[in-house]
């Protein structure tokens, strides 16, 4: 009797033990590797960030000195001066280059919306748009360095030949300038309108109400401002375009053009890539009954987008945004290493490239570890902040 009672329990505990053992067995290879190549290096890295360590000597503990020389400021002629001005310049570069993230996300969504239409040959277009993403790498960077070349690059050849043809006579030249100005003005207004819509949307999700009227007044004021500005500076713009066409810039060789050029290159490579496919999948996942319900309520395409599509794909938007922020702060190494060498005058050096230079060109391992941890801290704070905000804006089913 007693025996029969204990037996199943014993059996269960031995089965449990067997399961635990099996689990450890399955985990072992991954876990040991994880320990050796991730966990332990993280701890060592933290230790290193408090040392001076040129790799050939043994490390010397310096406390917070690395952190204060990286992040701190000192007085110089009654002005506050950063201890490491390069670092702040490179932070600025990194953030500047991240302008491409929202533009790219908007573009990817637009392309995905077009790809989501039932059209013949859409797979053909999808394949073409995805091509840059699949062969991303050194070869494409070499190609773009060539495209941006001041003398023989495709882009400047195009500017010279197309521009030269359009501006061959004063009349056509003037007309082109006017058309360009109108196009540019409308694009600016469109962008601002879109941003305002987004802000309004986020505000309404957060419980802040805007009056529709304020929005219209602001937009009209901005629009007329743009066109007044264009009208006032029309002559200057025209001559600027003329000189631009006759001597197009050396894109990667001038401080003010290098970063925009890299952003454009990134857009070319990313618009039709992974984010577009993720958006496409999200769009295909919206149940058609939602659209039908909206149609019954009398919603047009615009209203359908903002009341059905946009909220339904917001988890994807959020996912892409978080991943892009994390990736954006760690980017720029390959571009700098292959194309620009971080120049001109450090204008394309990002945090990641600075870290590489510090660690593997100057062999200043301690200071490089400090940079890595500061980078980690920034990423962590921004991700958590986005997460917190996202929880209130994103719609989950």
């Amino acid at each position: 009797m007693n025996n029969a009672k204990t037996k199943p329990v014993e059996k269960r505990t031995s089965a449990r033990r067997r399961e635990t053992l099996a689990a450890y067995g399955f985990l072992a290879p991954n876990f040991l590797g994880f320990l050796a190549f991730t966990s332990i290096p993280v701890i060592i890295s933290l230790f290193m960030s408090f040392t001076h360590w040129n790799i050939f000597k043994s490390p010397a503990w310096v406390g917070f000195e690395n952190f204060s020389s990286l992040l701190g400021f000192h007085h110089e002629d009654a002005r506050l001066v950063p201890n490491d001005p390069f670092f702040w310049q490179y932070v600025y570069n990194t953030v500047y280059l991240m302008i491409g993230i929202p533009i790219g996300m908007m573009g990817s969504l637009l392309i995905a919306l077009m790809m989501n239409q039932k059209l013949k040959g859409i797979v053909f277009f999808r394949t073409i748009y995805f091509l840059p993403a699949v062969c991303s790498g050194v070869a494409l960077l070499i190609l773009w360095k060539y495209l941006y070349n001041a003398d023989i690059g495709l882009i400047n050849q195009m500017i010279r030949s197309v521009g030269g043809a359009l501006y061959s006579s004063p009349a056509t030249g003037l007309m082109t300038t006017v058309l360009l100005a109108i196009f540019f003005g409308l694009t600016m207004i469109g962008c601002v309108a879109l941003i305002m819509l987004l802000v309004m949307y986020i505000c309404s999700r957060l419980g802040l109400q805007w009056k529709e009227g304020i929005y219209r007044v602001l937009l009209i004021a901005f629009g007329s401002g743009v066109f007044i500005a264009i009208g006032a500076y029309g002559g200057a713009v025209h001559s600027a375009i003329l000189s631009f066409i006759s001597t197009p810039p050396d894109w990667l060789g001038t401080v003010q053009w290098a970063k925009p050029a890299l952003i454009v290159m990134g857009l070319w490579g990313g618009l039709g890539g992974y984010n577009m496919i993720l958006y496409l999948a999200a769009l295909q996942g919206v149940p058609s009954s939602y659209y039908e319900a909206a149609e019954i309520d009398g919603a047009g395409p615009w209203a359908k987008f903002w009341s059905v599509t946009w909220p339904m794909i917001s988890p994807t938007t959020f996912f892409i945004l978080v991943m892009s922020i994390i990736g954006g702060f760690q980017s720029g190494f390959m571009t700098a290493n292959v194309m620009t060498g971080g120049g001109p005058a450090g204008s394309t050096t990002t945090i990641e490239y600075y870290l590489y230079q510090t660690a593997f060109e100057k062999f200043n391992m301690g200071y490089a570890s400090t940079i890595a941890w500061v980078l980690f801290g920034v990423i962590l704070i921004l991700t958590l902040a986005t997460w917190k905000l996202g929880g209130r804006v994103v719609t989950y089913e």
Binding site: P29, W268, M365
Partner: protein, 291 residues
């Protein structure tokens, strides 16, 4: 014409403009690679797309000329030892991918299907490390591998990449969604855990495994910073590193650089064009982790 056809036409127009701007750089690369070095300069401010001499345009095929146009290819081929770079890249990517998918699938099975003390805490630790930037671990890793004399070795190139928190996470999410009935049936048939993993879990997870394999392979294939740090001598260099040194030697010789780039890009492009359906499905699958 009604509004629908008009809208369709507009859509095709926009898509075509986009497609042309996507393709133009590739076309430019291909055409430059068969130009002679002096031909990259466009005289008179035009755009010079085509090379001056195609061998089919001249009535007499001049052997010396012929060599000059396509000569960029043999020159690039000889100079950067393309076969060696490809072999190295394929070897590193294949071994690394196999190892990473294997260890990830094993760990994911334990996290998704087995009960053991500390499981959730350990899984959380895995997730947390996905946030740590690669540059944090890279420097100490370099120092450790230097002590182990793994610098400039295939082990140094491959082994640190074998263990992935992301792969474990992705497969765990997929395994969680598999029906438990088949597993129970296999248990009743007397299968051990190993048997269940091999004969039930893995066959049911083919799409997820294929996705992880594709992305891991692409990750290894395009990996740049780590191979640059860890390889010193030429035989170990992977394709991106080899190309990088090629640029260093031919800073402005763009006809040859484009030929080298073509050799590096075209096989990958072809592979993608013939398998693009799987790529797209794979991305969709991996993106579900964010939902």
């Amino acid at each position: 014409m009604n509004r629908r056809t008009l809208a369709k036409a507009a859509l095709y127009f926009i898509l075509s403009v986009g497609a042309i701007s996507m393709l133009a750089p590739f076309v430019w690369m291909a055409l430059t690679s068969i130009k002679q070095p002096g031909e990259v300069f466009a005289a008179g401010g035009g755009i010079k797309w085509l090379p001056e001499h195609f061998f089919w345009r001249d009535t007499i095929v001049d052997c010396a000329k012929y060599r000059a146009w396509w000569g960029n290819y043999p020159d690039a081929w000889n100079e950067i030892n393309i076969p060696r770079l490809y072999m190295s890249s394929i070897f590193v990517a294949a071994v690394g991918t196999f190892g990473q998918v294997l260890t990830s699938a094993m760990a994911a099975y334990a996290f998704a299907r087995l009960r053991f003390p500390g499981r959730d805490k350990l899984f959380f630790a895995y997730l947390a490390t996905m946030m740590v930037p690669g540059s944090v671990t890279m420097i100490p890793l370099f120092v450790i591998l230097r002590k182990m004399h793994w610098i400039n070795s295939y082990s140094g190139l491959i082994v640190p990449g074998l263990f992935s928190a992301y792969g474990t996470f992705m497969l765990r999410q997929f395994f969680m969604g598999l029906p438990a009935e088949l597993e129970d049936a296999a248990k009743i048939d007397g299968s051990g855990y190993m048997g269940i993993w091999m004969r039930v879990i893995l066959p049911l997870s083919k799409p997820a495994l294929a996705t992880l394999t594709t992305f891991t392979f692409m990750g290894f294939w395009g990996s740049y910073m780590w191979p640059l740090v860890i390889t010193v001598t030429e035989p170990l260099r992977t394709l991106p590193i080899g190309l990088r040194y090629f640029v260093g030697q031919h800073a402005t010789n763009y006809t040859q650089l484009m030929a080298g780039s073509m050799i590096a890009v075209v096989p990958v492009l072809l592979l993608f064009i013939f398998n693009q359906r799987y790529f797209v499905e794979g991305i969709k699958l991996s993106g579900m982790g964010g939902k």
